[in-house]
Amino acid sequence: MTRKLSMSGAINEAMKLAMRKDENVILMGEDVAGGAQVDHLQDEDAWGGVLGVTKGLVQEFGRERILDTPITEAGYMGAAMAAASTGLRPIAELMFNDFIGSCLDEVLNQGAKFRYMFGGKAQVPVTIRTMHGAGFRAAAQHSQSLYALFTAIPGVKVVVPSTPYEAKGLLLAAIEDNDPVIFFEDKTLYNMTGDVPEGYYTIPIGKADIKREGSDVTVVAIGKQVHTALEAAEQLSQKGIEIEVVDPRSLSPLDEEAILSSVEKTNRLIVIDEANPRCSIATDIAALVADKGFDHLDAPIKRITAPHTPVPFSPALEDIYLPKAERVVKVVSELLGTPLEV
């Protein structure tokens, strides 16, 4: 049975199902329940996550499995890595991905490297869930999209879902995975609803999804930008231009095959990524195609990204900071040599 669920509802449901299935799955993070040791909240949460995504979990699984942590990202993230390598399967929530500054070592030098550095002796089945993305008026330290930083680290996998259906299936796959997986949740998508099947299912990490077929330009878009691309696709379609929207869904591993075969068809590539432009997933995908897809390219590879600045607070600035459908329409038109009438 499929019903409408919000993105945050889908993520919540995935965690519930994973925890029912495997008692080694635990959840830890700041205020993932909230109200720890408050007398009137023993079996209840005060918050269930800063934006309510983990709401209700403590009711079902109790405070032994839903662990509120102090504000010690390095402490609990490192604990999650070692708990994972000694038999648990923790979900560790890093409230905002921006806070990786407080616990990068635990990912970069510990969890990500154990398996290789120890010659295969360790496995680290941890899932880090974290919020990212601009558009929330949350300013420079709470709005970044840092998935490139993780994609650059060998040993970790990186997932950025764009719909509730995929969020659920990919999160379940992440929890099942025996490598560390960083799971990015765009806070501005939490309320977006979509069809989500009931019950347990996984979507394989490493498989892209063609969100819309088209033959004129391949547009690879990350996370929320998939929706920007789809919006642009609608507008372009009315002018007779059909773009193919590819959602990689996971950045590491990256479904190179899917991207390359789309470009083989369209001969043109645009990447939309709201992260900062340098050494980003946008450059990564562009470089991939400039190498392995070069022979199919008829035009320069364009990237539509944030500017190389921190995220500004003012709504007036943040609104122009993010990629927009109009910009996509414009770039597509230019690429096809059919500039827009103004």
Binding site: D31, G34, G35, P70, I71, D98, G101, P307, P312, P315
Partner: protein, 331 residues
């Protein structure tokens, strides 16, 4: 804990008393207004209000001049006001207007005013400890007698930077005053759950520095403790840790239903434990200020906050071109 009730022998000049009362009322009024504006959907973003904790920022900053610096937190409006930031510029910043102290680029969590020694509110919990060491290092290296104050919460003191910052300040004898605002909660998590120490000052011993615990609702107690610590720092004797036991009147951020709080605690902090009411009573009892003077302050502050809102409403948003200024853009 040094004193949980007012130390009556703290001698305040009338001028100082007036300044302190005014700053406390400014903070309260400002925050109440932000609360309203947020509820109405006028203000964007995450907003963390300082109402209830006024005695801490004001009692400490009463000892500082513009060349002394402070580091702040996500709950920074009170620190800004106590350190002398302009209300118009602050409010406009929270509105995201170009007339804001940071041209609208920072917002509530990133108000800074270096001319006033306000080194910035900070969205990263624990971010201030190392920073306070840095401005103190400048002071020490340049042989000024300036001090740095690091305000931080009970939640922040479990972060690694607390440990690293205080140890660094201690071994280098940096002129820092570490001021814990123990309001009992970090978001929805009680201090007593998250922290293995009973009192934050218990941690001073780990760094071999003085620790003073005071009732953070009692501005005179805060004032007195801060005086000692600031003088110690100015004399080059190194850092002090002050724990102020306090309470935030609003939720963690605007929108928080605060189910983790007890009804009684909520009520009593708004009445008999309210720092402003307590100080007001003290001022009148001790005849430091007359009733009409107190009322005059209250009225003038209300007008100032009205004005700040008006100023902000009328101010323009930053120009699109501001997106690419104030940063090295490499393409």
């Amino acid at each position: 804990m040094k004193a949980l009730e007012s130390n009556k022998d703290v001698a305040l000049t009338k001028e100082k008393a007036q300044w302190m009362y005014q700053k406390m009322v400014e903070i309260r009024n400002f925050e109440d207004r932000v609360h309203e504006l947020f509820a109405k959907g006028i203000l964007p973003g995450f907003v963390h209000l300082y109402a209830g904790e006024e005695a801490v920022a004001v009692g400490v900053c009463a000892h500082l001049n513009d060349k002394d610096s402070i580091t702040s937190t996500h709950r920074g409006h009170g620190h800004c006001i106590a350190k002398g930031c302009d209300l118009d510029g602050m409010m406009a910043e929270i509105y995201g207007k170009v007339t804001g102290l940071c041209k609208g680029k920072g917002g509530s969590m990133h108000i800074a005013d270096f001319d006033k020694g306000m080194l910035g509110a900070n969205g990263i919990v624990g971010g201030g400890f190392p920073l306070a060491c840095g401005s103190a290092l400048t002071a020490k290296y340049k042989k000024t007698d300036n001090v740095s104050v690091c305000f931080f919460g009970d939640g922040a003191q479990n972060h690694g930077t607390f440990h690293e910052g205080i140890n660094l300040a201690a071994i280098w004898k940096l002129p820092v005053v570490f001021v814990a605002e123990n309001n009992g909660y970090a978001e929805a998590t009680p201090f007593s759950y998250a922290s293995s120490c009973k009192s934050i000052v218990d941690r001073a011993i780990a760094y071999n520095i003085p620790g003073i615990k005071v009732d953070g609702k009692d501005i005179l107690a805060v004032y007195q403790a801060a005086e000692e610590a600031v003088l110690r720092a100015r004399r080059g004797e190194g850092p002090t840790l002050i724990e102020c036991v306090t309470y935030r009147n609003y939720g963690h951020f605007e929108g928080d239903a605060q189910t983790y709080k007890g009804d009684q605690e909520k009520a009593e902090h708004k009445q008999e434990k309210d720092a402003i009411l307590l100080f007001r009573k003290h001022l009148l009892n001790e005849q430091l200020l007359a009733e009409n003077e107190v009322v005059a302050i209250e009225k003038s502050v209300e007008a100032a906050v009205d004005q700040a809102v008006k100023f902000s409403e009328e101010s323009p948003y930053p120009n699109a071109s501001e997106l690419l200024t104030d940063v090295y853009v490499s393409y």
